[in-house]
Every structure is written in structure tokens, then in C-alpha cells.
């Protein structure tokens, strides 16, 4: 297909794929639902199909969509910020930071107090991780420096999480909850989780118009500034957006790796590096990718989301490293 045709069709195709995968996600499960049953169930909440949809599958789908969009867009933002196409929330340790924050909140028993505690704890953890990455690897850092900083942070934050897990005074039930973060999954997601993740929509709206400025930034901060971009403000916006979106995604689904690496990368290969196209495509494509991974995991007997994305993403990442070497 010609490049301009691909660019024009990419967004409609991504949207169609997302809608189709969303329908599939509502249909697949212990009880299979046909399209007409889904339609009926959505209208009649008291029917069996209605109960399944409204209590289980819709909140799960909504969380999957929001998490996918958030992680994918965060990856895109970090890649433009660090001018490095291998930057992503998982590799840089920002996801681990969010998870560590959430784990501490659960272990301390604060998480039950309010709906706000878990996301706020995840945001704080992710902010600490982002600050650490920034101080370890300056903007425009080499791949080696960036990845090494990520390795160090992931190890450090993993140690924090392991320490919390190994504390004898943490109850068995809480330990189970904590393991959930480490695995990353969408099991038993409720409307509460969907509400927790809802600010991701706000982040997407703020991010949407920044694409053009991200183009200029991704080719050099000084260059962008001399061309008329307020680089300091743009960087602050991008950093806050990527950290918040990663943290919220992690707060509701645990650590889900590789989404922010794979999706923007594939889209860049398909439609080129212009961020005005990549921002909306990453949001929608990331949502579609996570919904697809979730449907796949469920249909092969309950593979958790984080496992599926890592099974897909790990080999992809190695292929990327080999290609760029």
C-alpha cells in the first residue's frame, strides 16, 4: 500500500479494529454471547446477559481500553521526550514506580480507605521513578544510558516491592492482592476501577493538540526552541502526562509491560514519525492492542494480561535491539 494511503486509512482501520475487538471482548467468556444477545443485555440490565455485561465484561473492557491507551500514549511521549525510540514506561521503570507505590498502599492497608488512595499512591511512586530516570539519563540520552538507568530503577523498585511482600505482618490476603500488581491483569475489574482510570481520558484530551510540538522536540530541544516552541513548558506537560497516565494505568491493572514500546513503534513503521498522526493512533491502537491481548488471554484459559503482553513484547523488543545494532 502507498504511504499516503496508509496514513489516510490508519485511523479508520484502528477505530474499526477497536470496535470489533470490543464486541469480541463482550462476547467471549464462560458464557458466549451473540451480537444480538449483547444488544439485548446492554438494554435489559436485569437479564442474565445484562448482568454478565454490566457487572463483569463492560467494566473490564473499559479498563482495558483506558489502560491500553494510557500505556501506549505514555510510551510515545517518552520516546519524543528522550529522543529515543526505545524509551517506554516499562523499560524506564516508571511502571515499576507506580506498582511500588500501589503495593506500599495495599500492604499498609491504606488502599481500602478511599477510592483515591491507590491511584494517588501509584502516581507518587511513578513520579519518584520519573525523577530518578531524569537525573540518571539526561534528555536525548544514548540508548545505553537510558536502558541502564531503567535496569537499575526496575531492580531497585522491585526490591522495594519484594521487601513489602516479605514482611511477615502483611496478611495473606493482602499478599495475594500485591501479587496481582506484579502480574498485571484485568480479572475482577469493577466500575470502581474504571472510574479510577477515567482521568486518562482527560490526559488524552490534553495530549491531543501537542503532536506538532512533539515533532519538533523529537529532533532536538534547542532546535525546537529556536523554531518557536516553548520547550520548558512542553517538556513539563509531557512529563506530567506520561507519568500520570502510566501511574493510573498501573493503579487499575498492575504492571503491564511492553505496550508503550510495541504500539508506537509499529505505528511509526506504518504511518511515519509525525506525531499529529501518532498521538490519536497510539491512543486507539494501544486500546485495541490491550483488548486483543486480554481476549486472547481469556480464550486460551485465563492467561493474565501482563503475561500476554510480555510474551508478545519480549521477542519484539529483542528484534528491535537486533535491528538497531
Amino acid at each position: 500500500m502507498h504511504a499516503t494511503t496508509r496514513q489516510r486509512l490508519a485511523l479508520p482501520i484502528a477505530l474499526t479494529a477497536l470496535v470489533a475487538l470490543a464486541l469480541l471482548s463482550l462476547a467471549v467468556g464462560d458464557m458466549r454471547l451473540s451480537v444480538s444477545e449483547i444488544g439485548q443485555g446492554l438494554v435489559d440490565r436485569d437479564s442474565l446477559a445484562g448482568t454478565i455485561l454490566w457487572q463483569i465484561r463492560l467494566p473490564r473492557l473499559l479498563v482495558a481500553v483506558l489502560v491500553g491507551a494510557a500505556l501506549s500514549a505514555s510510551g510515545l511521549v517518552m520516546q519524543a521526550y528522550f529522543r529515543n525510540s526505545l524509551a517506554s514506561p516499562g523499560l524506564l521503570g516508571v511502571s515499576s514506580g507506580g506498582a511500588a507505590g500501589a503495593v506500599i498502599a495495599i500492604a499498609a492497608g491504606w488502599a481500602g480507605a478511599s477510592l483515591l488512595v491507590l491511584p494517588v499512591a501509584a502516581i507518587l511512586g511513578a513520579l519518584v521513578a520519573t525523577a530518578a530516570v531524569l537525573s540518571l539519563a539526561r534528555k536525548g540520552a544514548s540508548t545505553e544510558r537510558l536502558l541502564l538507568a531503567g535496569v537499575a530503577l526496575n531492580a531497585l523498585l522491585g526490591a522495594v516491592t519484594s521487601y513489602v511482600l516479605s514482611q511477615a505482618n502483611v496478611s495473606f490476603e493482602r499478599n495475594g492482592q500485591i501479587l496481582f500488581w506484579l502480574l498485571g491483569g484485568l480479572e475482577d475489574r469493577t466500575w470502581e476501577h474504571a472510574v479510577m482510570a477515567l482521568p486518562i481520558v482527560l490526559g488524552a484530551i490534553v495530549l491531543w493538540p501537542l503532536g506538532r510540538q512533539m515533532d519538533l522536540l523529537s529532533l532536538g530541544a534547542n532546535e525546537a526552541q529556536s523554531l518557536g516552541v516553548n520547550v520548558r513548558r512542553l517538556r513539563r506537560q509531557l512529563l506530567v502526562l506520561s507519568t500520570l497516565m502510566t501511574a493510573l494505568g498501573t493503579a487499575v491493572a498492575g504492571t503491564v509491560g511492553f505496550v508503550g514500546l510495541i504500539v508506537p513503534h509499529l505505528l511509526r513503521l506504518l504511518v511515519g514519525p509525525e506525531h499529529r498522526r501518532l498521538v490519536p493512533l497510539s491512543l486507539i491502537g494501544g486500546a485495541a492492542f490491550v483488548v486483543a491481548c486480554d481476549v486472547f488471554g481469556r480464550s486460551v484459559g485465563g492467561l493474565r494480561l501482563g503475561i500476554v503482553t510480555s510474551l508478545v513484547g519480549g521477542p519484539f523488543f529483542l528484534w528491535l535491539l537486533r535491528r538497531s545494532a
Binding site: R83, N222, E223, Q225, G272, P273
Partner: protein
């Protein structure tokens, strides 16, 4: 009118108490040994470094100019041309119009001026070093900014494109632009209207080339013995339309 006015500008130890006034319509060479502060001066003049002192563009203090207008008034070309992402040559040059609402005016002529039309759809991260520099120069041309600050634009270019770049700079000057170009080739600096010589973060001398680039100064600043004698002279053929 004064296009660029710098007063007592200092950047840490790299640039100390530099003052410089450049009028409209002048082509200025910035020379000096490695590490003498040429790049720092260019970046500080472009407002890209935290500095003490005053930078005034066309009568307006730099800090009072909104970012978007800065992009309309000044173009800065870095010494390093590295691109991580594979934007097309045309789209990178079109970034020069960001401060003009992305109107694409002058993008094609900037591409043509730098011999880039044939490469227009190529990804910039697959170009050679000299080609990447031409892309950056074309982007600077596309901004149509009256103040052009170019950091060693000739170093990576072949002789023909180097000459073409100088002719372009001269055309910009004739249309009232101010072009400040850092250079290593002192023979090229001789063709400029004005020369600024840097040494250890300070301006050692400034003025017309024949008044400034004296054998004494060259020995003192660069540690070389200078003499004038006939040699190889290169120019663009008269049929060339550069």
C-alpha cells in the same frame, strides 16, 4: 536598525562579558580556536542558554519576546545534525514554518536552494552528514528569519555546497538579513563584511576582515604564521543558478 545587540553577556566560564552589535544587512564571520566560545556565543545569542547580560533582537529585549515570535525572528543551525526519527526531508524543512502557523511558504524554494528536491521524500536519519546539514540550513532558510545564526555550517559540506551556502548567505544579507556564521577557514572569513574573533570566551577583536585578521592577531590568537600568496581559487560556474 540593530538586528542583534548583546551587552555584557556571560555563560559560566565559557563566555565572559561579551558585547556585540550587528546591524541589518551584514554577513558576519565568527572565528576562533577550538573551545574559544563560538558555539556558546551563537546559542546564547539565540536565547538557548541560561546567561547573564542582555540580548536584544531588533530593539526588543529577548526575554520579552513570546516564544512563537522568537521562531519568526531568529533561526539557529546547530553544529551537530543528528536525527533519531525518520521524518522526511520535506517535513523537517517544513518545521521552519512552525512559528508561521505551518503555512509551508518558501519550503519548496528552501529545498531547491539546498539541492534537496531529489531527496525531499527520503527519511532524514538515512542521509549522509553533509546532506543532514543541508536539511538544517534549508529549514533555517524556510523560517525567513531576519537573524540567522549558523554554527559551522560549512564544515560538513562539499566544496560546491559550501560555496552555494555562502552565496545564499550573501543573498539573505542583500535582502536586509543579518547572518552570523562560525567558521574555521580564515580564508573564507576574509570574504565576509565583518569578522568577530573569539579567544578564551572573550571577543579578541572585531571589525572589517582586512583590519582584524592581521598577521599579529593570527599569531596571537591561533598561533599560525600568515602570509598572502596566489593559490587555488574556486567559484561557482557563471551558468549556475544558486
Amino acid at each position: 536598525m540593530t538586528t542583534l545587540s548583546i551587552t555584557n553577556l556571560s555563560v559560566g566560564e565559557r563566555l565572559r562579558d561579551v558585547s556585540l552589535e550587528l546591524p541589518d544587512g551584514v554577513l558576519v564571520a565568527l572565528v576562533g580556536p577550538n573551545g574559544s566560545g563560538k558555539s556558546t556565543l551563537l546559542q546564547a545569542a539565540a536565547g538557548l542558554l541560561p546567561a547573564t547580560g542582555r540580548v536584544v533582537w531588533r530593539g526588543r529585549p529577548f526575554s520579552a519576546i513570546p516564544f512563537i515570535e522568537r521562531g519568526q525572528l531568529t533561526a539557529w543551525v546547530p553544529q551537530e545534525a543528528q536525527f533519531e526519527f525518520g521524518f522526511s526531508v520535506r517535513s523537517v524543512v517544513a518545521q521552519g514554518r512552525f512559528a508561521h502557523g505551518d503555512d509551508d511558504a518558501g519550503v519548496e524554494s528552501a529545498l531547491a536552494a539546498m539541492d534537496l528536491l531529489a531527496l525531499a521524500e527520503r527519511p532524514v536519519n538515512q542521509l549522509s552528514g553533509g546532506e543532514r546539514h543541508r536539511v538544517l540550513l534549508a529549514r533555517a532558510l524556510a523560517t525567513a528569519a531576519p537573524l540567522q545564526l549558523w554554527d559551522e555550517p560549512l564544515a560538513a559540506l562539499d566544496v560546491r555546497h559550501a560555496l552555494q551556502t555562502l552565496v545564499l548567505a550573501d543573498n539573505l544579507k542583500k535582502r536586509g538579513g543579518t547572518v552570523l556564521v562560525s567558521l574555521h577557514d580564515l580564508r573564507v572569513a576574509h570574504c565576509f563584511d565583518y569578522v568577530v574573533v573569539m579567544q578564551a570566551g572573550r571577543i579578541a577583536a572585531q571589525g572589517r576582515p582586512d583590519a582584524v585578521l592581521t598577521p599579529e592577531l593570527l599569531l596571537n590568537v591561533f598561533g599560525v604564521q600568515a602570509r598572502l600568496e596566489p593559490g587555488l581559487t574556486l567559484s561557482l560556474p557563471s551558468t549556475s543558478s544558486a
